[in-house]
Structure formats: structure tokens, C-alpha cells
């Protein structure tokens, strides 16, 4: 029994460390291969549309009045994705918080956020100091952020998985333009909005 542990622990240790970017990129490519081979297209944001249809949005809005029988696979993919997050956090958690660069940590300090303490769990995943159920300002911010992601993904017919990975892998010009758009929007939020918004959120008492 003890021998088994000695064998198992180094193995788990290996995958419990954060994965190198090249390993992560190859793992994503393996997912693209598997889904393509299984006759599907890797695209997560379509699940939002499916959820609206399942909830009955098709009765009011004709856009959602579609057949969802061939979307069952996507629901299973999403359930698996949530489960994968759970498994990774329960059994494969990294021993240290995400090792972001010191200049990013300095920027965060300047807007009143300490790193990694601004994530209450200490993992360095989400700044729960800003986004939590007790902060009205944070609640408004996450609702707006989610809204923009949902709206933009449908208008553009895809998100990061559908355009930035699958679409680019198929050498699609519309996907390239959409990804350029992702960066235009992301750079605006990060460089024009965050310097004052993060300060506002981190000092907000409402």
C-alpha cells in the first residue's frame, strides 16, 4: 500500500504543477482533434444559445426557435467542462498561486489590489475582492461583462474556442477579423477603462 503511494504521489505532483504553455496548447489541439473526429465543431458559446432555447425563449423570440436535438452533445461537453474544473480544483490544485509577472502585480498594487490576496482562495484565478455577492458595484460589473461576452459571441457567431482556435486552424479570414476585434475590445477595457474602474471597484463600499 505504502509503495503504491510512493508511486502515485510523484505522478500526481507532476500534473498538479501548473502546465507549461506548450503542454496546454497541445492539450487544446488534442481537444480540437477529438471533437473534429467526432464530427463536431469546438465552440463553447453556442451553449448559451442552446440554454435559451431549452428555457423556452423560442416562444417569444423566433431566433431561438430551433431544433436542439442535435445539441445534446454540447450540453454533455459543458457538464464535463464544469466537472473538469471541479476535479482540477479538488485533486490537482497547484501548490502556489498563478505566477503572474511582477509588472502586472505592480499595476494591481497601484489600483488598490494586492496579489494574490485579492483572490480570497489564494489561487490567483478571480479577484473576489472586486467580484463577490456582497458588492453591488462588482455585481453590476460582472453582469455587464457577461452580457457583452454573450452578445458579442452570438453576433460574431463564436468565441475564443470557435474563432481564435478552431476558425484560425481552418484558416478562416472572418475568424481572424473577429480575433482582431477581441483584442481591440480587450485592449480598450484593459488600458482605457481598468485604470479608473479597478480603483473605483477596489475602494467601493457599495
Amino acid at each position: 500500500m505504502e509503495n503504491l503511494f510512493v508511486l502515485a504521489i510523484p505522478g500526481l505532483d507532476g500534473i498538479s504543477q501548473p502546465w507549461h504553455w506548450s503542454v496546454s496548447g497541445l492539450a487544446l489541439a488534442l481537444i480540437v482533434f477529438l471533437l473534429t473526429w467526432m464530427g463536431r465543431k469546438f465552440g463553447i458559446s453556442s451553449s448559451f444559445e442552446t440554454m435559451c432555447t431549452v428555457a423556452g425563449a423560442g416562444k417569444r423570440i423566433s431566433y431561438f426557435n430551433t431544433d436542439i436535438k442535435d445539441k445534446t452533445w454540447l450540453i454533455f461537453l459543458v457538464i464535463g467542462t464544469i466537472g473538469g474544473g471541479f476535479i482540477a480544483s479538488e485533486f490537482l490544485a497547484s501548490p502556489e498561486p498563478v505566477a503572474i509577472s511582477s509588472s502586472t502585480i505592480d499595476f494591481l498594487g497601484g489600483v488598490g489590489l494586492s496579489y494574490p490576496d485579492s483572490d480570497a482562495s489564494g489561487r490567483g484565478f478571480i479577484p473576489t475582492d472586486l467580484f463577490n455577492w456582497n458588492s453591488w458595484a462588482g455585481i453590476v460589473a460582472v453582469l455587464i461583462g457577461g452580457f457583452l461576452v454573450g452578445f458579442g459571441a452570438r453576433y460574431g457567431r463564436g468565441c475564443t474556442s470557435g474563432h481564435a482556435i478552431t476558425g484560425l486552424a481552418h484558416l478562416q479570414l472572418p475568424s481572424l477579423l473577429t480575433v482582431i476585434g477581441f483584442f481591440i475590445g480587450g485592449l480598450i477595457t484593459t488600458h482605457l477603462v481598468f485604470p479608473w474602474l479597478l480603483k473605483l471597484l477596489s475602494t467601493s463600499t457599495i
Partner: protein, 138 residues
């Protein structure tokens, strides 16, 4: 059912990959848009390059998918204004909440309940597009 379980398995692998790659981290996305680390560019770059090679060889070899079809993608009609506008709207939100649709689910699995609210926002955005989006350039 076996089919559905295999999609569930791919999802599990995706959730683990996104967590261990740290691509679900709001801080990693901030760092990416501030150009202060190569990490995210490395992940996306390798994923795209390797996927492109895989798709190219699947097409070239005439490999059939499990449902007996050739590998192809539904192409979108080129509309520069639409792609850039849609992408930018998405990007504004992506940087704000630090998560695109995949990570929203992965972070819920990681125990961040506030992402349920992001999901509500995303569903509202999807509904709004379905109701009003047709008025935008397509």
C-alpha cells in the same frame, strides 16, 4: 449514451486543461492584454499552430469523421465591419470579467459561485442578440 459520455469525457479534459493552463485566471488575461507575459500567447499560439496542422492533415488525407463525413467548417460570409464590431464587443467583456465562455463553466466547477452571475449576464446578452441583433450590420 456512449456518445454523450465521450463528449462528457472531452469536457472533463477541457476543464482540467483550462485550469492547469491557468487560462481561466482573470490575472492571466489582464497580464496578456498588458503584454507583460508570453504565457497566454504561448498557449493560444501552440493550440492554433497544432490544430491547423491537424485539420490540414485530416483534410488532406481525406479522413472521415465518426459520422462518415469529410472534415469541413461552415464558412461565414465575409463582413469586415461585423466581425470587427462583434469581436470588439466580446473583447470588452472578456477583459472585464477575465473569462471567455469556456472558463465561465470551468470557474463554476472550480467553486467561484460569482461566475453564475456572469453566466446570467451572458445568457441575457444572448437573448438580447436574438431579439434585437438583426438590426446590426450582418
Amino acid at each position: 449514451m456512449l456518445k454523450n459520455i465521450s463528449f462528457l469525457a472531452v469536457g472533463l479534459f477541457f476543464g482540467i486543461t483550462m485550469t492547469k493552463s491557468e487560462a481561466i485566471s482573470w490575472y492571466r488575461i489582464l497580464e496578456m492584454f498588458r503584454f507583460e507575459s508570453f504565457h497566454m500567447y504561448g498557449i493560444i499560439g501552440v493550440a492554433v499552430a497544432a490544430s491547423a496542422l491537424i485539420i490540414w492533415s485530416m483534410k488532406r488525407s481525406g479522413m472521415k469523421t465518426l459520422d462518415g463525413k469529410l472534415v469541413a467548417i461552415q464558412t461565414l460570409e465575409l463582413n469586415v465591419k461585423r466581425h470587427l464590431l462583434a469581436g470588439s464587443i466580446f473583447g470588452l467583456g472578456w477583459a472585464l470579467i477575465g473569462s471567455c465562455p469556456g472558463p465561465i463553466y470551468v470557474l463554476i466547477g472550480n467553486g467561484y459561485s460569482i461566475l453564475l452571475l456572469v453566466l446570467v449576464g451572458a445568457l441575457a446578452g444572448t437573448l438580447a442578440y436574438g431579439a434585437l441583433g438583426q438590426k446590426l450590420p450582418h
